[in-house]
Symmetry: D2
Subunit: 341 residues, 4 copies
């Protein structure tokens, strides 16, 4: 932590900052420049943060030096990115994962049909929502446990591991019976009790970045899961909220290389929710793969125009094999190979 | 709903959109202009939304006309803003509420001392956190049930109603034993299971706007509570996330008059969390009051430099009476009177 | 400048950073912590910046310590805010300025009529656009020199000093013949040749914050004017671009106290352009005044529904006296008195 | 234009809106729904906009239907994207352009050396700044006319067409003597007098998107150039301003497919300025190419650590050939071929 003093700070104010650091066990080194004094504080970050020096007399600003996350940090696994294995599929490293399936589980035919399409095109995992967070309380909220049952059936038939969302810690038990990967939606990225429960479950988690979460906040949310002893966290960029209104969210692909620099965790990209429009999903998927993402998660439906939710952004199942082929080429440019069994 | 067709749309595409609307029971009226055709669809909003016409052939854009919220809407109480009564204090209408207290309940002395200060200065309600959502899993997470017990003691001694946060539906029962108003934090604004539970409890709720939530999304979140039969929702603006890094969040005071136009619900402003710095709390509180807010919620501490969390933004308890007096003057400019017992 | 080295930085990399600083005449002090080394560099900021150390081997981040602006900084006039005098009206300090007039000069009647209204209500300065920056090349671009002539007439008749925009350095000469204050629009905040020319003219300038400019960028733009020897700069907050679409821009009132802390220059607020809607102008003006703004600039029109541009945000001239009275009350809460002659 | 009336609108208010539209020559068709009335207005957009109906009694909102740009619109060249030819290099359609060179022209050696590197690697055009817009007035502002002379020399020697920025209409004449393409920087995207002058010059223009400009505003800025009879406009995405502070700007690659849908103009991407860091330039360039960009513009320097400005983001000249090869592969995934002579 560097504490930058005001130009007008008195010697007493400088000393007071030093004293308060030392009271919580930190060492404080002042560097007296011609214009300002900067105090370097070395010690437990949380203790120093708690001092609340930002408001103290004579203090101009407090600049954190060390990252606030530890287990998610690249520094605990230097040059050794995590590769997470899900029923034989590898996520991370040189592997590229194609995660696909319908937005929502609607019916047996729709679910099994889409799962077969994903399997046939060489998909890595199958996604589908049983519990759906919806902006409107009047919108369809998912089939719930019946949806989980259909996902289990798709899994049994195709052998594809299942990714599905859990929105409520009280639903975790039934979700754990089906999910190979538990999805945490963007709205729940900072639902700390839920993160901790999923951490305690040990089940791999796909953690979506909140629509206005910084990368640091995303990694701090991952830390909540990792801290409970669950090392299997997939980070997921799914578009951030900006001033631009021509699309639903702005997909932030710079997050891919930067997250990989800051963290050892794999990075997945969700272009479907970011764009909200089918015709944008292909260019954005190719871009994500070329930028070095460890995988994408996309929505596919046999008949999107009949989908209960998010129809406009779901790919046609009939086009999926061709789509997957192009994405594979783009991943190859970034040196990655499709991960399937 | 207005469906704007592309210039290049064919007559078949126009007819297909009309047919699909009629299939879900909506009436569709095309207006054929020289350049484009616009189709007005009248029917159940959710049914029409589900059609996912944004992606359909020939469709340029889909423009919603009716607001997606109903119970939160100003239209169900034209010119009659809701006034919510909490143990004799009125929130809304011509009343201005001063809600104050420490960020976190830390100890008996700190809690009771601050409550006495708030009471003496004519405060309306007492706030204090027992469960604290923290970005870092390593930070202090609140005293939990012990904190609730101290809040109950402060309430018993001063008579001030208590506002405290609930982060987890599984904690709702003990919170309900103490809280006159349940606070829903910005990170949980779209935690739908939690909103629904608080809705079912019937207890007044102070719903904070998410850091990147639009006003429409805030009102949709309120709708989740209202829909369960709980009419007592206070909306709370607490700063939004923007590109500006000179302060923690950007307090959005335009939200005050606009929320009051869109909704009948009272609007409270939290300048402490927005600014993150004590010296900004006074000007922002005055601004909020002058702009017509129905109240403010601010943090006060007997010794902020010793506070466990958010010390830099907490007002000195010794300065609180003077602060409250100035805010009362600003509220008077907007035609409001301080609400206390 | 603090240069934070990576945990993995070698001793050679640390030394190389020290050497490169010393080559440009800066002194470099390394502080070796347990986890990272931080190097403090003291010397000419531009020289050190040019080193481009952000990309150098072993460097994690470069943290500027000193502000990049000098003449705009509060530090050159500690506790002595600038008060700028325009034909007897004082802007800054304890004075509150009411700057009002039509968006665009449209006709002699409209211009003189509005000027009389502003004068009668105790307004401080008269504003009106002769050159209008318009998003569309097909929109009305202002009356140009004919507009300047009408402003001169209004000035002669009412004695009110005139504020008008200059968009092009090639138009500066005719603008200088009329303008007591030259407005620089938000789109031109970083039009450096224009800023420098206005700096050289010595005429007071009202510099609007760009819609996505940080406060630091605004102060750097002011620095371009100040550097040419023109000390008369008024900073103007006029709303920033955020994700919220319920209003045109989000007025950032936190900028008022923060700009006043960072700089000695007066701060004016433009609620009309921020809100884009007349009914929001009153609450936002009251908020700006209560938050301690040194003035507001608002649009007034005798018949807004007939205005050539921005009609929906212009106040009715008939309502202006009452509006001005309420704003005066709000300014009083912040300890300011209306400045007029 | 659709004018949505309030639920509470009276029949007189509806009629008044219809009358006002008809006064300016527009036809107005009311559609009376059960809850609200919507009025479709067909006529000259600017005339209808000028009515300022957003503020009129009974009006809820005004929804524009037609795009405000015409010459930039895809509709004037359906399915026929513009291909702009610069000295034999084709930009747009199936062609991918590699535009590269130093941030700033610093010296003869640096300029000619880099130009030779770009030429050898198969680059399409050579970029270099003679006039540099700098946030700080104390920073290096470019070599000006001497820089232009060096660019002319590089052009003569390598045959590469030159892209260079013009910041001031008064400098246009000397810039025109050297530039094959005139760059308009992000800060000047809405400098309308400059846009119009460049439009009148007829010279191809590379128009950078402002850091907070919507795609519609970018296309409106292009319209200012096109309207003067200059059809040769290249749109350039260079990162937008968001809340994320981990990188300088957030590169918005969704803009590529969406601009290509809205407009016939070619779309170039500048990853160097967006990222501000060399190590991000490769993944972002690959992503841009895979997403279907018509080209990229990147910064290259023989010794970036000695560069006068933006060193950290400039690629090493020695690495450029390999970089160009990888980008060519990514462009191939999107079906494009490198354009060079």
């Amino acid at each position: 932590m560097m504490i930058v003093m005001k130009e007008s700070a008195t010697e007493e104010e400088v000393q007071s900052v030093i004293d308060r650091n030392e009271e919580v066990g930190a060492r404080a080194h002042p560097s007296r420049g011609e214009e300002v004094t900067v105090i370097g504080a070395i010690g437990d970050r949380e203790h120093v943060m708690r001092l609340g020096l930002e408001g103290a007399p004579g203090v101009e600003q407090v600049v954190p030096i060390l990252k606030p996350y530890k287990l998610a940090s690249a520094q605990i696994r230097p040059n050794e990115p995590s590769v997470i294995e899900i029923e034989g599929r590898r996520i991370g490293g040189d592997h590229f994962s194609m995660i696909a399936g319908p937005c929502t589980v609607e019916s047996r035919d729709q679910t099994l049909g889409t799962a077969r399409t994903v399997k046939a095109a060489g998909g890595s995992l199958f996604r589908g929502g049983a519990y759906k967070p919806r902006t409107s309380p009047y919108a369809f909220q998912g089939l719930g446990q019946e949806g989980l049952r259909l996902l289990a059936e798709a899994r049994a038939e195709t052998g594809l591991p299942v990714v599905t969302e859990c929105m409520d810690a009280r639903d975790l038990e039934p979700v754990l019976e089906v999910a190979d990967v538990i999805q945490i939606g963007a709205r729940n990225m900072q639902n700390y009790p839920l993160l901790a429960e999923i951490g305690r479950s040990g089940r791999p988690a796909l953690l979506k970045r909140g629509a206005s979460a910084t990368l640091e906040e995303l990694l701090m949310a991952a830390e909540y899961i990792l801290k409970e002893g669950n090392p299997n966290v997939l980070l997921c960029e799914r578009g951030i909220r900006t001033f631009e209104t021509a699309y639903r969210f702005t997909l932030d692909l710079t997050a891919i290389p930067v997250l990989k620099e800051l963290s050892h965790l794999p990075v997945i990209v969700d272009p479907s929710h970011a764009a909200g429009r089918r015709d944008l999903v292909t260019p954005l998927s190719l871009a994500a793969a070329a930028a070095g993402a460890d995988g994408i998660i996309v929505e596919v439906h046999p008949a999107p125009e009949e989908a209960i939710c998010d129809g406009p952004q779901q790919l046609y199942a009939d086009d999926f094999a061709l789509f997957a082929q192009k994405v594979e080429q783009a991943a190859a440019v970034a040196g990655k190979v499709l991960s399937a069994v």
